[in-house]
Each structure stands twice: as C-alpha cells, then as structure tokens.
C-alpha cells in the first residue's frame, strides 16, 4: 500500500466508524481496528492511541456497552456492543454525515477548473 492512499480522519468521524463496525455484532478492540482497515480497503489505519480512548469515551457516554467474553481462540477479551441509545445516535449521525457529504460533494463535483 502506498503512503498516499492513507488519510487522516476528520474530527469526530472515528467515533462514527467505530460505532458502525460495532453495530454488526459484539466485537473487541483489535478486531475493530482490523475491520476498519479492511472495510476501508487498507486506506484507513486506526492508531491504538486514538482507538482505545475513543472506545472508553463512547462507553462512558453509554453509547457502547462492554463485557468480557472468550474469543474463538479461548482468550478473554473485552467485547463492545451498541446500546439502544448508541443505535439511535449512530442512525442520526450517519444521516447527518450523508447529508453533509452530499452537500459538500455537490459543491466539489466536476473538474477543478483554474486550479490544475
């Protein structure tokens, strides 16, 4: 993977990505990072330094709930799930995000005349 294909995430979007991944079913932190990486086709690499504080922040805000469960390899890991509140929040924010990207896309579509 080339360095240019990687992004810095805009502020606040990490929370949304995490919640989206978690909405698919109970999942632990490492898997969340892997999943985001896969789903973004390796374009996004989540740093642990931001992943775990974000997870804890969401848990603290009661958008996520965590419990300790055994993985398929038999090890104990902390699995995250959406709460009802988290589900509603995710739905809300996803719609907002879509509207925002539509609007931004509307303005930014087409070739960049006079720039290139």
């Amino acid at each position: 993977m080339k360095e240019d294909d990687k992004f810095d995430l805009p502020q606040g979007t990490l929370d949304l990505l995490i919640m989206r991944v978690v909405s698919l079913g109970p999942i632990h932190g490492y898997a969340i990072a892997q999943r985001i990486q896969q789903m973004s086709r390796e374009a996004l690499q989540v740093q642990q330094g931001s992943l775990y504080p974000a997870l804890h922040r969401l848990e603290y805000k009661k958008l996520l709930i965590a419990k300790w469960q055994a993985t398929e390899t038999g090890r104990e890991a902390k699995f995250y799930e959406l709460t009802a509140r988290g589900r509603a929040f995710l739905k809300d924010e996803t719609e907002k995000w879509k509207r925002l990207t539509d609007v931004v896309g509307l303005i930014l579509k087409g070739t960049l005349e006079g720039v290139s």
Binding site: Y30, Q48, S50, Y52, A54, E76, K78
Partner: protein
C-alpha cells in the same frame, strides 16, 4: 479499572503478535514489531482515563500516593515536621482545652447569661466586720434575707456557702455497714435549684419549704456521688443518711453534669438547706448574724439594667451595715457591691487560674510560632532541594499546575498527619496539665478530651500551616525554568541558605531565649518560695483534721474532747508533742477579724485568729519571742489572754513599744478584751507571700473566741512513723466512733501542697522552654545542614585550594553562632520586657535575674554549637576530589 484496561491492551498486543506469527514472522520479531506499532501504552491509558472523566480523582489518588511515598522516602524530614507540628499545635490545643473548661465554660444551667453574681471577687470562708476597700463579695444569712426581700428586680436570688471546700460533712448511710465518711456538703438556699432552672435526675430538689428552721432535715445528692458511690441505687432516694450525726432524708438526686455553682476540685456530694445549719450542724459562726459566709447569685428579670441594680444593692447594703455597731460612718459610706456575670458560677477557681492560664496561652502561642517557623524552613529547604527534580519533571512534560498541586498535596498530607498527631498530643498534654494543676484529683469536672472547639482549632491550624507553608516552596518550584535549573543544578557557590531562612532561625532563637529566661525566673521564684524561712519545724510532724461538730459535739463537750485528744495521743509511744488548734501553718484556712487596741483609735487592722492548746507552738515549731505562750493555767475562769505574732506587733504598736499586758478587742461580739501575754515568731500561714504582713492572735482553746471548734491536731513524734495514719484512726475511733479523719498529711506534704500552683507554672515553663529550645535547635541545624549541602562544591574547591579543616569548621560554625547571637540581641530585651509583665506572679524577683539570663543564654549558645557543629564537621570531612567530581 486500571487492571481491566491493562488486560484489554495486552489482549490487543497478543492478538497482533498472533496475526504476525500466522503471516510467517518469527515470534521474537513479531513481538518487537507489535510493541513498536502499538506505541506508548501509558499514553494510551492516560487517554482512556481522560475520556472517562475520572482523571481528577485518579490524579488526586496518585498525588496522595506519590506524596506519601515522598514522605516515606525522607523519614527524617517527615518525623521532624510531624513532631514539630504535633508539639506546636498540641501544646496550644491542650491549653485551649483547659482555658475552655476553666475560663470560658458556663455552668450547665438554664440561660446562664441572665445570672448575676453579687460581688466580683472570691472571698473565702467566713469573716465579719468592715472591709478596707468596702467591696463586699460574701454576706451573712441576714443580709441575704434582706437583699432578697427588697429586690424585685430578681426573678430569684439564691445563696450558697462560700468556700465549702474546707467544711465537709461526715456521712453514714442508715443501716449500712460502712464507716462514717467525710464528704463535701454545700449549704444552699431553698430556691438554689429553682434559680438555676434545674430538674432532678431522681426524686425532687430542695425547695423553699425545706429551707425553714422548723423543716425536717433533707439533702440532695449529686449525680456523680449517686452513680459512683452508691452505684445508681434507686433506693437512695427517700432513705436516711446520718449527716454529722443527724438524720437527713435524701429527697432526690441533682441532674447529671451539674457540678455545683463553681468549678472546683471538690464538687459538693450533698446539697443541704441553709436554715438547717444553725439547728442541726452546730456551726457557731453560721448562727451569728454578722458572720459572712454566703455567696449570692440571682437571675435578673428581663429588661433590668445592671448599673441601677448595682446602685440599688449597694444602697441596700449601706442601710444594712448602718445598723451594725462595728461599722463606722466611713465604712458605711465605702460599702458597695459590684455585680459580676454569674453564668460561670462563683468563680473562685477561675479567679485563681485566669492569670496563669493566660500566661500559658501566650507561651503556647510563642511555641506555635517557633514551630511554624520551623515548618516553613523545612519545607523551603525541601522545595529548593527538589528544584532539580521539579525541573526534570517539567522538562519531561509535566504541567506546572500539576506540580504545584502535587507539592500542595504533600504539605497538606504532612499537615494532616501533624494535626492528627497533635490531637493525640493535646489529649496527653491536657491530662498532664490537669495532673500538674490538680494533683491526685479525680473529682474535677474538667475532661482532657478535646472538645469540638479544640478539634476545629487543631484542624484549622494544621490546614493553615499546610497551605501557607506549602505555597511558597510550590511557587518556587513552579517558577523554575527547567533548562536553567538543570544547568546550574548543583554547581553553585552563591546562596547557601536564603535571607528568609536565616531570619526565621534568628526569630526562633529570640523566642526561645524569652521562654528560657521565663522558665529560669519561674524556677527561681519557686525555689525562693520553698526556701523562705517559714519559721516552723516540719520534720516528724503529722497533721490530722477532724470535725467535732460533725461528730456531734456541743459547746459544753468540746473542752473535754480536747483534753481526751491530748491524753490519748500522748499515750502513743514516740509522740513528743500534741498540738490542738483551729488550723495549722501552711494550710488553706484563714479566719480574719478586725482588731484594735483599747485606748487607741481603730486603724482597721485585720488579724487572723487561731485558738490553740499549750503544746501547739512547740508542735509546729513556732518560737516564743517575748512573754509566754499559751499554758495550761489559761482556763475558762482565768483572765482572757492572747499571744500575738510579730506581724501583729508591727501593725499595731510603735517601734520599741512593749506589747505585753496591753489589751485589744477583736471583731464579732467578743465578750471580753484580750490581754497580750506573749509574742511569737511570724510563722507562715496560708501563703509565704504574706510573711511579715499577716497579724495573728492566738487564744487558749479553753476561752471564748471568734472562731469555731478546733479541727486540727498536730502530732510531733521523735522519729518518722509510717503507720501514723492507722494509729490515728484507731485512736480517734477509741474516743468516739463518729470522729472520722477528714484529712491526714505529714506537715511536709501539707507545706508542699501550698506550692502546687507555683510548681505547676515552673514545670510548664520548663517544658515549654525546653520545647522551644529543641525546636530552635532543629531549625538552626536544618538551615546549617542545608547550606553545607548547597556549598559542598564550594567547600571542595576551597579545600582543594588549601583551606584546612579548621577553617571550614569555623566558617560553618561562624554563621550558625552569628544567627544565634542576632536572636539573642532581639530576645534578651524582649525577655526583660516580658519579666515586667509577669512580675506579679514571681516571688522575690522584680526583674530578670542574672543567673536566669546567663543560664538561658548559655543553653541557647550550647544548643547552637551542637546544631552548627554536626554539619560543620560533615563539611570538613568533604573530600575535595569527590566534591568536585560529584557533578
């Protein structure tokens, strides 16, 4: 929480490692890579904590934990600081406990603020006749009755026996097996309990109908006596007790916590109505309408102004005394009463301890100041020592606020530990003070337990100390610019201790020299008091107190009793002399009467009257200087005679005049004038401060006098007899089973008892002086040691350049001694000033004595040398090579 986080992160790394191994990376390499990718675990953790919002709590716990670790790491510093705080605050809290209990506490009665006492000083026990200054505090039964009748301004005006401490009753429970025991009985007016608004714990309290001469004798028992002596037995109420051989019905128990109308180390066990005294208790003086023996306290009606009331009472008093033939027109014009707050009761103890307690408060405050100076110094030294540490932490990215908070937490922790230790110290200190002040006394209604006020006081002082003295070092540390601090960290030749630090040490030295001089003065005063020539012999003498009235003796029976006492005690092998008298040298009693020479104008001299048997003067060691003593030829039918002391001669006769055969009359309703037959030495009675200033006259036991029955027996033996008390008990029982020992002491113990007060002051001053010296020495040591550490490399260079050890020692010592001398320069004048403030409490000293001054200066200088020498020697042992290489 932290463990879970750890586990979660570890799982992440493990999973990563497992993935890498699966993709073919060797395990070691996989681990290395995983850890590399993961980054700083601690930063992640910190981030998680932040997002949870628990960071403040955790960092507080961290601060506390770190603070405790820091304190543990330097036990010397911690111990010194905690002990300094504990001693400083503890001494204050202990004294505050006592001041609170003795001076500030109101009686546990209803609305103490509306109580007013007639009279503003503690007059004691019993007297009559005009007062020189016209200020009356003690009144007769008749005066009380008249005042009560004519003052509607009072809701109630109650009277109580003044100085009942010296007049116990002998009590035996009816039907009980126990022997008759002396107990404290206080005579009170019928409205006494009503005036205080008290409710009985059991039964009922004394009422007006009990306070009539015709009423059956009743008594109220105090709550502690009921609980402790009679085990809270309900059948006590309604039962009969024999009081001074008369049957009295216990009608009730006084409320719990009520300790009588004054703070005293002998609170009353029984309360008895006044009217029953003349009929049942046989007190000669109480029957006399001119004998003053009552304190008066009243509850004023709301809205009554105190000043007009005082005027009115004084006018009333003048009217009453106008009818008394012993009062001249001038005496009557002077007569007045001063109203005082009655909420704290009759206050004899408050009066006698107020000046001492105030002095102790001042001293404790000085000690606290020294302690605070020490703490400041210690924390500042520590703050500077840790400058480097703080710089490192700042350089590593610690926030300034966090560092300041950390340092403040540390000082507060220190203060908290100090405060708790101080409370323990204050409890111990208050107990010690109580023991010193009232030796061998369990009855005092004062507890050493710190009150809420004291707790609050200690906590406030501890926090104030912590914050105040924590802020300065914290700010110093926070201001440090890390780069500069790290660069110059240890390589410094300037500085040493700062000016503030030196100033604090000088201040401490000054204060401790003041306290040491004070301690010296009080010790000297005590020793002068004890070595005053009391003109008596105390060796192999035993003093026995009995109460003939209490044993049921009547006027016509006591002469026989006196003779029996003399005979029976003489029959004991080893007994040389048996003195019988109303009271003895160096005991608390004193009955004074106005005397004047016949044929001379009355010049208002008050003299103490004692009646004695022929052997009395020999038994106490008073020598007869002129004429003769009392002899067996002085009988009821022989001429009325008196032997007077030297002070009496000085007060009433011109120099060179021969007093023998002259006559005088004494106050009261003396039937016959006294003819002086002899002059004796001025033996000390009550107080050596009155030596040479206390006229006395001694009459024969067998002749009429102003005073009551003789209650003191002086037994002089040829050798010390350890079992004298038991022998005395048996002898008295053999005479009459109702004759109980009221008090038995060796003459020496009785004399020592008169110096308890002074001994307490001197001991406390020594303790506080020692404490101050110790703290000042520690302070000086701390500063000197600190400057040695700071100057290690400078000293190393000096030595490398050829300075020898002596030079280094002298250099360090010089600065220590210089600070001490500056302290002396300030402290000595202050000590001289302080001595003028306490002059009234010193005996035989009017200013700072040379010996006290030199002792204090010497001690301080010696302490300074020790405090300076230890760091100086350490400085001199610095190896120059190592000192320079250290950086």
């Amino acid at each position: 929480m932290d463990i879970e986080l750890d586990k979660e992160l570890r799982f992440h790394i493990e999973a990563q490692v497992a993935d890498k191994i699966r993709s073919g990376v060797p395990e070691n390499e996989a681990r290395r890579l995983a850890r590399l990718e993961f980054g700083g675990i601690d930063q992640i953790k910190e981030g998680c904590r932040h997002s949870r919002g628990t960071v403040w709590l955790e960092s507080l716990l961290q601060d506390v934990g770190y603070g405790l670790r820091q304190l543990r790491k330097s036990p010397g510093f911690t111990l010194t600081a905690v002990l300094t705080l504990a001693m400083g605050i503890g001494a204050n809290a202990a004294i505050f406990t006592l001041v609170n209990a003795v001076l500030l506490r109101d009686l546990p009665v209803v609305d103490p603020k509306s109580l007013v006492r007639l009279g503003n000083w503690a007059d004691c026990c019993q007297n009559s006749g005009p007062k020189q200054d016209g200020n009356y505090s003690m009144f007769s039964t008749e005066t009380y009755e008249q005042l009560k009748r004519n003052t509607p301004e009072f809701e109630e005006l109650a009277a109580m026996q003044a100085g009942f401490e010296n007049r116990p009753v002998v009590v035996r429970r009816d039907g009980g097996q126990e022997a008759a025991m002396p107990r404290m009985g206080e005579f009170v007016s019928g409205n006494y309990f009503g005036m205080f608004g008290l409710q009985p714990a059991k039964g009922r309290l004394i009422s007006a109908s009990d306070d009539l001469a015709s009423a059956p004798l009743v008594a109220v028992m105090s709550y502690p006596t009921w609980k402790n002596v009679y085990g809270g037995d309900d059948s006590v109420v309604g039962s009969t007790f024999w009081m001074n051989t008369k049957p009295a019905t216990i009608v009730g128990v006084a409320p719990e916590g009520f300790y009588g109308d004054r703070m005293s180390n002998t609170p009353p066990d029984f309360y008895l109505p006044i009217a029953t005294v003349p009929n049942e208790m046989g007190g000669k003086g109480f029957r006399d309408s001119s004998q003053n023996w009552l304190d008066i306290i009243g509850r004023v009606k709301p809205g009554v102004a105190p000043l007009p009331l005082q005027e009115k009472l004084s006018a009333e008093l003048k009217r009453i005394y106008a009818k008394d033939p012993h009062f001249s027109a001038a005496d009557i014009a002077k007569a007045h009463v001063v109203l005082a707050a009655g909420g704290a009761g009759t206050q004899s103890m408050q009066d006698s301890y107020a000046s001492n307690l105030k002095l102790l408060m001042w001293i404790a405050t000085l000690v606290l100041m020294i302690a605070c100076a020490n703490i400041t110094n210690l924390l500042m030294v520590r703050g500077m020592q840790r400058k480097t540490e703080m710089s490192v932490r700042t350089a590593l990215g610690a926030m300034r606020t966090r560092i300041v908070r950390q340092l403040l937490t540390e000082s507060l922790l220190l203060a908290a530990i100090g405060g708790v230790t101080a409370l323990a110290a204050s409890y111990g200190g208050a107990r010690m003070l109580l023991m010193l002040t009232f030796p061998g006394d369990q009855h005092l209604p004062i507890s050493a337990r710190p009150s809420f006020e004291v707790l609050g006081f200690a906590i406030c002082v501890a926090i104030a100390t912590g914050v105040t003295f924590g802020v300065a070092p914290a700010l110093i540390a926070a201001k440090a610019s890390p780069a500069e601090a790290l660069r110059s960290g240890t390589r410094t030749t300037v500085g040493g201790a700062s000016l503030v630090q030196r100033g604090l040490v000088v201040f401490q030295a000054a204060l401790s020299v003041v306290l040491l001089v004070g301690a010296g003065l009080f010790s000297q005063s005590l020793s002068k008091l004890q070595h005053t020539d009391m003109k008596l012999e105390s060796q192999n003498r035993y003093i026995v107190h009995i109460n003939a009235q209490a044993a049921g003796y009547k006027d016509d029976q006591v002469d026989a009793l006196y003779r029996t006492l003399e005979e029976r005690f003489h029959a004991i092998p080893g007994v040389v002399n048996v003195g019988v008298s109303t009271f003895t040298p160096m005991e608390g009693n004193d009955d004074g009467y106005g005397v004047h020479l016949i044929g001379q104008p009355d010049i208002h001299i008050e003299a103490t009257n004692i009646i004695v048997n022929p052997e009395y003067f020999d038994s106490v060691g008073t020598s007869v200087l002129m004429g003769r003593g009392i002899t067996s030829h002085d009988t009821a039918t022989s001429p009325h005679v008196a032997v007077v002391n030297q002070d009496f001669v000085h007060a009433l006769f011109k120099p060179g005049e021969n007093p023998i055969s002259r006559s005088f009359v004494a106050g009261g309703d003396s039937p016959k004038p006294y003819a002086i037959v002899g002059v004796v030495a001025g033996t000390s009675y009550t107080n050596v401060r009155r030596n040479g200033k206390r006229p006395m006259y001694f009459g024969p036991l067998t002749q009429p006098s102003e005073v009551g029955y003789a209650g003191a027996i002086v037994v002089q033996t040829s050798h010390p007899m350890g079992d004298m008390e038991e022998i005395t008990r048996r002898t008295l029982m053999g005479i009459n089973s109702n004759l109980a020992i009221q008090k038995f002491e060796t003459f020496e113990a009785q004399i020592a008892g008169r110096f308890t007060h002074e001994r307490m002051l001197s001991t406390l001053m020594l303790l506080f002086g020692g404490l101050a010296l110790l703290l000042a020495t520690l302070g000086l040591y701390g500063v000197t040691a600190y400057s040695v550490v700071r100057r290690t490399s400078e000293i190393g260079i000096r030595m490398a350049l050829g300075a020898n050890r002596n030079f280094v020692v002298a250099m360090i010592l010089r600065s220590a001694i210089l600070q001490t001398l500056s302290g002396l320069a300030i402290g000595v004048p202050v000590a001289f000033y302080g001595a003028t403030l306490v002059r009234s409490q010193l005996y035989g000293l009017t200013s700072v004595s040379g010996s006290a001054l030199w002792a204090a200066v010497g001690m301080l200088l010696a302490a300074a040398c020790v405090a300076g020498a230890i760091p100086a020697l350490r400085a001199a042992s610095v190896d120059p090579v190592r000192a320079l290489r250290i950086e």
